[in-house]
């Protein structure tokens, strides 16, 4: 018996599922991810402040880590966040909001090394995302190098894909 799945997706969104996303959507998702990373850094900084306040309230002063350390911290947090997101569920929070998913050349979730390298490339060379608008396959530089894709996928879970009806 032929297996058919009832799509919970809106009818107008179905034709776009599993197609590579364009620049605007990916930029919005990246912006949301940037906000998440900023919030994480802010949370860590706040937690450190509270900790220092508790340890030595008299000599307490807001710590200043300098620009380089801050950038390095943001870089690390961003790489770890994106690696875990793409490896574990195929998407970061920005991807969840915008309905995007990262898949490898077989259409599956990236493996841990692939997710890590992609996160590293994306964080080190963020301008590479602009290649999406030039590429005929809507691929960024990291996608082109690692043969990955960022696709529209509004399904909440990474389930076997069926052609949109």
């Amino acid at each position: 018996m032929r297996e058919r799945e009832v799509s919970p997706l809106p009818r107008e969104a179905r034709p776009y599922q599993r197609r590579r996303a364009g620049l605007v959507t990916r930029m919005v998702a990246a912006g949301i991810d940037g906000l998440v990373v900023g919030l994480v850094l802010l949370g860590c900084y706040g937690a450190l402040v509270v900790l220092l306040l508790l340890i030595d309230p008299r000599n307490f002063s807001f710590p200043d880590f300098g620009l380089l350390f801050s950038i390095a911290s943001a870089f690390v947090v961003l790489v770890v966040y994106q690696t875990l997101g793409w490896w574990l569920v195929g998407r970061t929070y920005g991807g969840v909001v915008m309905g995007l998913r990262v898949v490898d050349h077989r259409g599956r979730r990236p493996r841990l090394p692939g997710a890590f390298v992609r996160a590293l490339l994306s964080a080190a060379f963020p301008i590479g995302i602009l290649w999406v608008v030039v590429s005929r396959q809507n691929r960024s530089v990291a996608d082109a190098l690692l043969r990955t894709s960022v696709v529209y996928d509004w399904q909440p879970e990474d389930r076997p894909h069926h052609a949109p009806r």
């Binding site: 018996m1 032929r2 297996e3 058919r4 799945e5 009832v6 799509s7 919970p8 997706l9 809106p10 009818r11 107008e12 969104a13 776009y16 599993r18 197609r19 590579r20 996303a21 364009g22 620049l23 605007v24 959507t25 919005v28 909001v97 915008m98 309905g99 898949v103 050349h105 077989r106 259409g107 599956r108 979730r109 493996r111 841990l112 608008v133 030039v134 005929r136 396959q137 809507n138 894709s149 696709v151 529209y152 509004w154 990474d158 389930r159 076997p160 894909h161 009806r165």
Partner: protein, 238 residues
């Protein structure tokens, strides 16, 4: 004596009184003897005939010595039949009793029904049938309800039906997901949906604009590779 037994002879001979008495006596004697012979024959002949018939196979005798065809040919059968009151004969026949005596099973067993059926023009018989009239007289609903195994039929029909596909088509036709979304949807999901669709529209517009700028022809190939099933991965435990 003999010539005087007759009247003509008597005239010729001429009667004389002594002879007259003798003639009368002879006549009486002759009549008595004739009666006696007749009585004895009546007694003897039936016995003799019985004995002869008993010792003789008369049927065989007739069959051997009588030309029956010739005899029958002289019989006017039509006249015989005309004289027979057939209705009366038939009325006197107890048909029920006759039928009771007939062993119909034996008769049927001797019938070559295959040969009879082979000679039967079934098409002609069927053409003469008024099927509508037959159906009008048959309570088909009752026949189906009592004689047909509806459960088996329903099971067979269900086995042939792709119920999942049918249900999916129905749901697709009424767009059940849209109804569910409308009945349970929240502002947040509507907003997210709107943002996503606007993002997709912006992506398409930007891609078209760039393609036009780069003088490209044809659509972009944006279909990503598909996977049918998520396999258990070795590195998932790492």
């Amino acid at each position: 004596m003999r010539c005087c037994d007759h009247r003509s002879s008597r005239r010729r001979c001429g009667r004389r009184p002594p002879l007259a008495a003798l003639t009368r006596s002879g006549e009486a004697r002759r009549e008595a003897l004739a009666a006696e012979v007749e009585a004895r024959l009546d007694a003897v002949v039936p016995v003799v005939v019985d004995e002869v018939l008993r010792r003789t196979d008369l049927t065989d005798l007739v069959l051997r010595h009588v030309d029956l065809d010739r005899v029958v040919s002289t019989v006017d059968v039509d006249a015989v039949v005309e004289r027979v009151d057939l209705p009366a004969v038939v009325q006197r026949v107890d048909v029920d009793q006759v039928v009771e005596r007939v062993d119909l099973d034996a008769v049927a067993a001797r019938l070559d029904l295959d040969a009879v059926a082979a000679r039967l023009d079934v098409d002609a018989v069927a053409a003469r049938l008024d099927v509508d009239a037959v159906l009008d007289r048959v309570d088909l609903t009752a026949v189906v309800l009592h004689r047909v195994d509806l459960h088996a039929i329903v099971q067979a029909v269900l086995a042939r039906l792709d119920l999942v596909a049918l249900a999916a088509e129905v749901i697709d036709g009424v767009d059940l997901p849209e109804i569910i979304r409308e009945s349970t949807g929240s502002m947040a999901s509507d907003t997210v949906r709107g943002v996503r669709m606007q993002g997709i529209a912006a992506d398409e517009a930007l891609s078209r604009a760039v393609d036009r700028l780069l003088l490209r022809r044809g659509d972009r190939t944006t279909q990503a590779p598909e996977h049918q099933r998520e396999p258990k991965r070795a590195d998932s435990s790492r």
